[in-house]
């Protein structure tokens, strides 16, 4: 039954919310400005109308779908809450739309007619929660295999339950005829003849393929060498990040965030900890913020080195790959010196960082970064104007920027298409507002531009690090709150209060007040966002990681349609899909 109209006098006022309420009045059930996040709970029947309105209204212009997910409030009716995060590339503001659907009929309209990028996101929500999106063009599971029973992120699905897929086709080992066992979810293979009179052919690229780094299966229908249709299947590296985080404390999720974007793990740590800190409502001290920026930019450099290097490798330029890997090794030496590991950094903590910089770090950093950039120069000389490289990369993989935005693509791929969206500049966080750096934009949006954008970003990251090393203030590296940050060891060994605090924090974790937040930061591939819902205990009720690789990989099929199969390789590489990030 319809809920009573909201008393707008008591509701928080914000231009976006006012606009929404002016247009939709009773259908906006609840609004919130908790911790600064603009959030509106709307009637599910009006979802499509609201979506179109927020996309098209000039004052709102939410053209980019950041995330679609759901929260399972088991025991409450209606049980599920479908959550949409939106961003406006024009006004650089955010909105969270929520709609509740009941357990006995968990279905809601699909917003793919409004934002095409909601396609995969809704498939994932269906896969994980069982929410049916009516009007979705292709609602099938995305991460899990077809025969999987149940929806694992629901609260009544036990984490320990195992459903291994044994034998071809099904758990019961039944034969599925001469169809390939995993193609039960695909349209039938193409029939007919191609342009040269040969049959149309279906070829499987991946999931293990020497020229695609990351496990992605692309089922490609070919006419000769031209791609007629491609179905990109991700999820081979799905490890249940969200479910795992829900069963541990907030501090235990940090090593798991390392494994999202494992090429630039520190950026994921930073994003997650900033989200928890927003939930707690605390600010970290300046030195900590500078340290996070330094470490984060080192990670960004490592990711870009690998991205460019792997692209070169897969276009058969083996040598610059090795140069760039050596650059990455040098950057990793620095990351290693800071936090103790190269890839699985586990550097950032809730309310601080795990350790301060080692002695002599500034000199070491300058030396190593200089050498890394020299190697980058060499790689550039080998690659950038090389005719083979240019022939493979130029003019390939571009789609119009409006489409990219509608897909939810961000990061270097979007900037290569000429869209100025870098969160460090658009919505500055940490100390980025005190730093000088350039944001490179491409002109044509093809693979060459993506490569060039990353080159510039590498040098800008080095510039940021240099500035930070010069500006680094003295001071504490943690927030001084023993209800949040584990106390220093010398006190734990010798004083009763700190010993007790250590015990309580380890065994019960910090307890953010109930609420929900979203924090998006600029990681190497685009916006990495964490949507956290707290129920007041030490364990997150929901820990959603919005990962750029997932959204960036969605338009891949569109980008390579009509191109040669060889063009698939540089396009795939320049999207820089990181499996852990895409599949969580």
């Amino acid at each position: 039954m319809p809920e009573p109209a909201l008393d707008t006098a008591a509701a928080p006022s914000h231009p976006i919310l006012d606009r929404l309420q002016a247009q939709f009045a009773n259908d906006v059930r609840e609004t919130s400005l908790y911790r600064g996040d603009v959030s509106a709970n709307i009637a599910p029947e009006r979802l499509l109308d609201v979506a179109r309105f927020v996309r098209d209204d000039p004052a709102l212009r939410f053209d980019m779908p950041i995330d679609v997910t759901a929260v399972d409030y088991l025991g409450r009716e209606p049980r599920f809450e479908v959550v949409y995060h939106l961003y406006s590339t024009e006004h650089h503001h955010r909105l969270r739309l929520k709609a509740r659907v009941p357990e006995d009929n968990p279905s809601i309209a699909s917003v793919t007619p409004v934002w095409v990028g909601a396609n995969w996101l809704e498939r994932e929500t269906y896969d994980m929660y069982g929410i049916r999106f009516t009007g979705h063009p292709d609602l099938r599971r995305i991460y899990l295999y077809d025969e999987f029973e149940g929806h694992p992120l629901r609260k009544d699905y036990p984490k320990e339950k195992r459903q291994p897929l044994i034998g071809p086709g099904s758990r019961r080992g039944e034969s599925v005829g001469d169809e390939h066992p995993y193609s039960t979810d695909l349209p039938p293979p193409p029939r007919g003849k191609g342009m040269l009179g040969a049959d149309l052919m279906r070829v499987q690229v991946g999931p293990s393929h020497p020229a695609t780094h990351g496990t992605v299966r692309m089922v490609v229908d070919l006419d000769g060498e031209t791609i007629v249709n491609a179905d990109v299947q991700v999820g081979f590296l799905h490890r249940g990040f969200e479910k795992e985080c829900e069963s541990g404390f907030y501090y235990q999720a940090i090593p798991y965030t390392d494994r999202l974007n494992y090429s630039s793990a520190i950026l994921c740590n930073v994003g997650y900890c900033m989200a928890v800190e927003k939930l707690l409502g605390i600010e970290t001290p300046p030195r900590c913020q500078f340290l996070r920026v330094i470490a984060g930019e080192l990670a960004r450099m490592a990711d870009h080195f690998l991205g460019i290097g792997a692209t070169a490798l897969e276009l058969n330029a083996f040598t610059p790959f090795l140069y760039l890997l050596e650059s990455r090794e040098l950057v990793w030496d620095l990351v290693d010196a800071i936090c103790g590991a190269r890839v699985t950094s586990n550097y950032v903590r809730i309310g601080g960082v795990s350790a301060d910089l080692p002695d002599g770090f500034a000199e070491l950093a300058r030396a190593k970064i200089a050498k890394a950039l020299k190697l980058l120069d060499d790689a550039e000389k080998v690659l950038t104007e090389n005719p083979i490289f240019r022939a493979r990369m130029e003019g390939v993989g571009a789609i119009p920027p409006e489409e990219l935005i509608a897909f939810g693509v961000c990061g270097p791929v979007l900037r290569a298409a000429g869209v100025d969206l870098d969160l460090r500049r658009a919505q500055p966080y940490l100390v980025y507002d005190q730093l000088d750096f350039d944001v490179p934009l491409g002109t044509r949006g093809d693979n060459m531009d993506r490569y060039l954008v990353r080159l510039v970003e590498l040098r800008q990251s080095a510039r940021i690090i240099e500035q930070c090393l010069g500006m680094l203030p003295a001071g504490p590296i943690d927030v001084d709150d023993p209800a949040i940050r584990w106390p220093g060891k010398s006190k734990v060994f010798g004083r009763m209060e700190e010993l007790i605090d250590q015990f309580k924090l380890v065994t019960e974790g910090c307890k953010p007040p109930p609420g929900e937040v979203y924090v998006g930061t600029e990681s190497a591939n685009g916006e990495i966002g964490f949507f956290l819902v707290s129920d007041g205990t030490g364990k997150p009720y929901k820990c959603r990681a919005r990962t750029p690789s997932f959204s960036n990989t969605q338009p891949l099929a569109r980008m390579i349609q009509g191109r040669l199969i060889a063009d698939l390789v540089p396009t795939f590489d320049m999207i820089n899909l990181i499996g852990g990030e895409c599949d969580r």
């Binding site: 010798g494 209060e497 007790i500 065994t507």
Partner: protein
């Protein structure tokens, strides 16, 4: 008084020395609150409430007072958290984290007292950890009346101790560890066993005597680690006896029976459940048919739940067995919680009708009948028959019996003589109800599922019923309680929802009679 009223209304006022079942001490000063009209803070535990009182519990003055109390308590408190069992359920930790000051200020060395002092057969005292709340002293004075513990000396030399020749040995000594807010008094049995944050808690009822003390089963990884009393003002207040508290080793014993045993060629061998049920049904049916039921004797176990008793009773009715009784081991009782019947549910068995019929005999006449041959099949549940019957008589009966079924948790010497041995589950793996000596029906919850899907006693009786009669039989405790409510007049109207976590008393004077 203000403090219990506040607690009952969900207002959390930290306190140490006050306890709902002990006298008021007013020594810890932790429950200080601001009362409008009073210039100084007052302790809530000793302030009577009056109309129109305005009390504030979170003002800066109150917070400062709490910080002060905690700081002084921590000044001499040893840095024992890593080795102290109480960590995780320690009120000093909790209050210090939530209300205490953030930094320790004292630099002086801490006082040195006796640690790990053996003060009784089941208890250890660490004098350094004691915060002198005197709960344990009042417990020994007011609840058990045994006066073992006392605070000696005065001022900053106060120390909790026992007299050399009077150890803390009363039957409820481990309750002092429950009420101790810190880890000063520790139970030897749980000393250095497991960290409490691993424990999962399930409310249940103690099976060791017919008092039916409400307990919480602390378990982890399918093992019972500890039993703690649960508050029930109608049964055991906040206490339980040491014997019942320590009586759980059998749940996790590796010697438990897990599979049925059947006698083949003179030896007991494991068999499948289907075979066990088929064999039992065959023998029971044959003798019931031949003797109109009089040739079968049944001994019910007082450790089973009411639901299981009911199915047993139905099984015996189907076989028309008039020779039914309950064997219960009895012991001493005290005037507090310990009762003579050393099993939880003998009363439930009798209420439901597991008593000799008009043409039948009970114990010990049943054994005479067995020894003389008029009873040829005996179905014995539980260990109490072996523990209570006259051994000679039992031996003679075993010689004469044609078929002996023993259903028990362990392989007792009686089971060694059986033709069919059926494994029983323990109380910790069952959902059901017990009826205590005073006629209070209380609910057990299952701490963990039995290993390998082992059936419960009720499920065994149900399977036998399926073999021996028409109709569909299932074993769902909730619906069986409804059946009991419909059949046994004294139990009318009972349901699981009604029983809840605190139980429900049957009407006065009801002894339960069934037709």
């Amino acid at each position: 008084m203000l403090l219990p009223v506040a607690i009952d209304n969900g207002i959390h006022i930290p306190h140490y020395c006050w306890h709902p079942k002990l006298s008021i001490d007013g020594s810890c000063r932790m429950c200080q609150v601001e009362i409008e009209g009073n210039p100084k803070l007052a302790i809530a535990c000793n302030t009577p409430i009056r109309d129109g009182m305005v009390v504030r519990t979170t003002t800066p003055a109150v917070q400062k007072a709490r910080r002060g109390v905690l700081e002084l308590l921590l000044v001499n408190h040893p840095l024992d958290c890593p080795i102290c069992d109480k960590a995780g359920e320690c009120l000093l930790q909790d209050y210090s984290f939530n209300f205490g000051s953030r930094q320790g200020r004292s630099r002086e060395p801490r006082r040195k007292l006796q640690k790990r002092k053996d003060i009784g057969p089941r208890m250890i005292l660490d004098q350094e950890r004691c915060i002198l709340c005197r709960r344990c002293v009042r417990f020994c004075r007011e609840i058990t009346g045994t006066f073992e513990l006392a605070v000696f000396n005065m001022g900053d030399r106060s120390v909790l101790d026992i007299l050399e020749d009077k150890p803390l040995a009363n039957d409820y000594s481990i309750c002092t560890a429950d009420i101790c807010p810190v880890g000063a008094l520790e139970s030897k049995e749980f000393h250095h066993r497991l960290r409490v944050w691993f424990l999962k808690k399930t409310p249940s009822v103690c099976p060791s005597c017919s008092n039916g003390c409400n307990i919480t089963v602390d378990h982890y990884r399918e093992r019972v680690w500890r039993l703690m009393p649960r508050r029930n003002d109608a049964v055991n207040q906040c206490w339980m006896c040491d014997h019942g508290r320590l009586n759980f080793a059998h749940v996790n014993s590796p010697d438990r029976l897990r599979r049925p045993l059947v006698r083949r060629n003179g030896r007991l061998e494991t068999c499948e459940w289907d075979e066990a049920f088929a064999t039992a049904a065959t023998h029971l049916r044959r003798v019931a048919h031949a003797t109109q039921g009089c040739g079968i004797g049944a001994v019910a176990s007082p450790h089973l739940t009411n639901e299981e008793h009911f199915r047993f009773w139905q099984l015996l009715k189907v076989l028309s067995v008039p020779n039914v009784d309950v064997a219960v081991r009895t012991g001493s009782d005290d005037r507090f919680l310990i009762k003579a019947e050393k099993a939880a549910n003998a009363r439930g068995a009798r209420d439901i009708g597991l008593r000799p019929g008009s043409e039948g005999v009970g114990l010990p006449a049943m054994l005479d009948a067995a020894a003389s041959g008029s009873i040829s099949v005996l179905y014995v549940c539980g260990p109490d028959l072996w523990e209570t019957a006259d051994r000679d008589l039992l031996g003679k009966a075993m010689e004469r019996l044609e078929y002996l079924i023993v259903q028990d948790v362990f392989r007792s010497p009686l089971a060694e003589r059986a033709h069919l041995v059926l494994p029983s589950l323990t109380w910790a793996e069952k959902i059901g109800t017990f009826t205590n000596h005073a006629g209070r029906v209380q609910q057990l919850q299952r701490a963990f599922a039995p290993l390998n899907g082992q059936p419960s006693d009720g499920e065994i009786f149900t399977r036998l019923l399926m073999q021996l009669s028409e109709g569909r039989w299932t074993f769902e405790p909730e619906s069986i309680l409804e059946e009991i409510a419909a059949t046994v007049p004294a139990y009318a109207g009972l349901s699981y929802a009604g029983v809840g976590t605190q139980g429900v008393a049957l009407a006065e004077g009801s002894a339960g009679a069934t037709s």
